[in-house]
């Protein structure tokens, strides 16, 4: 969840570049304003760290997804405040995990500039992340028990996904099923929770709520898969951090997991090195850029997009549903 073009609110009439966020623009702006206010802690340095991250051009992909699902499921203006709060809560949680991730990985770049960790150090960044978690749950207080639980359980999955990923760092043991489990927990959990909460708030029937949960899973997985491909392909200016950052950190990304099954050399390079040095890193990157490998990885992301499209077909036609389709297709088209 680190790259991709921004879903900015662009002027109309630009043909292909129309943003899927356009049809929920007013809701998103309300969310953005409230999100910004929630960052303003009594302690200026907490507010500064939070604003530093959150104002740095995040894509607001989760809020956009949640608000589109809410509307696509028939959510009405009278209750949109709830959907807006849910969208903010999940963006706050996402932001908290970004702050904490950079501490854990000693990540020095985020969204094309020094990470909060690089700029403010571990202590302040850690507390700012905790602060964002607390703000998210403060916001969730208004929801019914099962919705609060859904949000909390997404967070729990998220932490477990990170630890599971850690177990497989620099390890050839990670297979494709492990990979899917990791990204479902680590990346898709906030989307699936968002899909469920948004459709529930919209008053959708149980079956639709289940479908929107699955939609979130498919979208989140597709997003992570494309992210993984971009880590290998770059270029740096587009992904906001050095090419191969995940590879260097030993993260078993999609190309790595697929590549290791077919290429013993790659397996050895990935497995044997706590830190890949120049020549080995370059060689691993070369192997991972094999066209058939990239094509296979893309096909897997496309498969998730296909699942998502099928789930969307269950909804009544609307401009919101169309925008969800655009948002999802954009994932797969993104710089790949």
């Amino acid at each position: 969840m680190k790259k991709a073009k921004a879903y900015q609110l662009e002027p109309e009439g630009l043909g292909e570049t129309i943003s899927p966020a356009r049809v929920v623009e007013a809701d998103l702006q309300a969310a953005e304003a409230k999100l910004s206010r929630l960052l303003d802690s009594n302690e200026p340095i907490i507010a500064e760290i939070c604003h530093y991250l959150v104002d740095a051009g995040g894509k607001r992909l989760r809020p956009t997804f949640i608000l589109l699902v809410y509307r696509a499921c028939g959510g009405v203006d009278a209750k949109v405040e709830d959907a807006i709060d849910a969208s903010i809560a999940l963006e706050l949680i996402h932001s908290a995990t970004l702050l904490h991730d950079d501490i854990i990985d000693a990540g020095m770049l985020r969204r094309g500039k020094p990470s909060a960790f690089a700029r403010y150090g571990a202590g302040g960044t850690l507390i700012a992340g905790d602060y964002l978690f607390c703000r998210a749950f403060e916001l969730c207080g208004r929801f019914e028990e099962h919705l609060v639980r859904t949000a909390a359980q997404a967070c729990i999955q998220l932490t477990e996904g990170e630890v599971m990923e850690g177990r497989f760092r620099h390890s050839a043991a990670a297979n494709f099923n492990d990979y899917i489990t990791v990204i479902t927990r680590k990346t898709a959990s906030l989307f699936s929770a968002g899909g469920r909460v948004a459709s529930d708030l919209a008053g959708a029937p149980k079956k639709t709520i289940e479908s929107m949960w699955n939609l979130g899973n498919a979208v989140g997985r597709a997003f992570q898969m494309v992210d993984d491909i971009l880590d290998i392909l770059g270029p740096e200016e587009k992904i906001g951090k050095p090419v191969g950052s995940d590879l260097r950190a030993g993260i078993p990304s999609l190309p790595v997991v697929l590549g290791m099954t077919r290429n013993p050399e790659l397996r050895q390079l990935f497995e044997n090195d706590g830190r890949m040095d120049g020549a080995k890193f370059d060689r691993a990157l070369e192997l991972l850029r094999a066209p058939d490998l990239i094509a296979e990885a893309r096909a897997m992301a496309a498969e998730q997009v296909k699942i998502a499209r099928g789930l969307l077909a269950e909804l009544r036609p609307s401009e919101y549903r169309d925008s969800l389709t655009v948002l999802i297709e954009d994932q797969i088209d993104r710089e790949v």
Copy 2:
């Protein structure tokens, strides 16, 4: 919240050593069992880190306080599950902050043994803390909005208190008011939230809920003040970490804040050193152990206990109220 004798469930008839936890023993045991279950993550290392901290002889002071307030305010068996969950939630939050604190302070000892940070490193410890936060809020989902908000706001205060304390590290600028603000946020917030939630769940009238909030503030402040005195007096075996740990870390504790107003030498020692070396540290400790200074600090803790006693007098007499009195008096008597 790091020291003090354990509120273990001791056999009856030991005269002075009767534990204030005795009268809520069954509730506490239920809380303990459920707390332990909640630590069992799908990822074994998360569970291991959480158990490592939580099973290491914590005092369960917050759960004891919450359950006693619930009962002292007339809380009945039929709804005690709610009070138990609240007590677990606040203990989970407390535990999460202990894990994160040790990362921030690079604290190597906790409760007399290597800290989770020392044993498992920053990454795992950080995620385990996040996991505990999420579990706490999952548990809070069953409560009404204003109670969830109370818990979340206590957490927010906690993070802000830590940052504020950080601002005053190695700084002679911290005055007594600053000190009170820091400890009210950092330590008392979970007690005051606990007092409010417990009395609210017990169905107490608004005025009593307000008093129990204030009671939590007084108890939390007294506790932190005594903790601060013990950091200076030790001995290490009793406090579970080296004497003067807070002093060395530049934390403006109660003796430091009081001492700096009267002793320019202490002010200089405290202010000028990023890290106090052997001779300077010894001299600062000597100055901070001046009997009149310790007596003044004790008097301030005693003042908080007096406030707490006054608030308890508003409640109907009961064995629970008596136990709260014992719990509070124990704070001030604790090894000082």
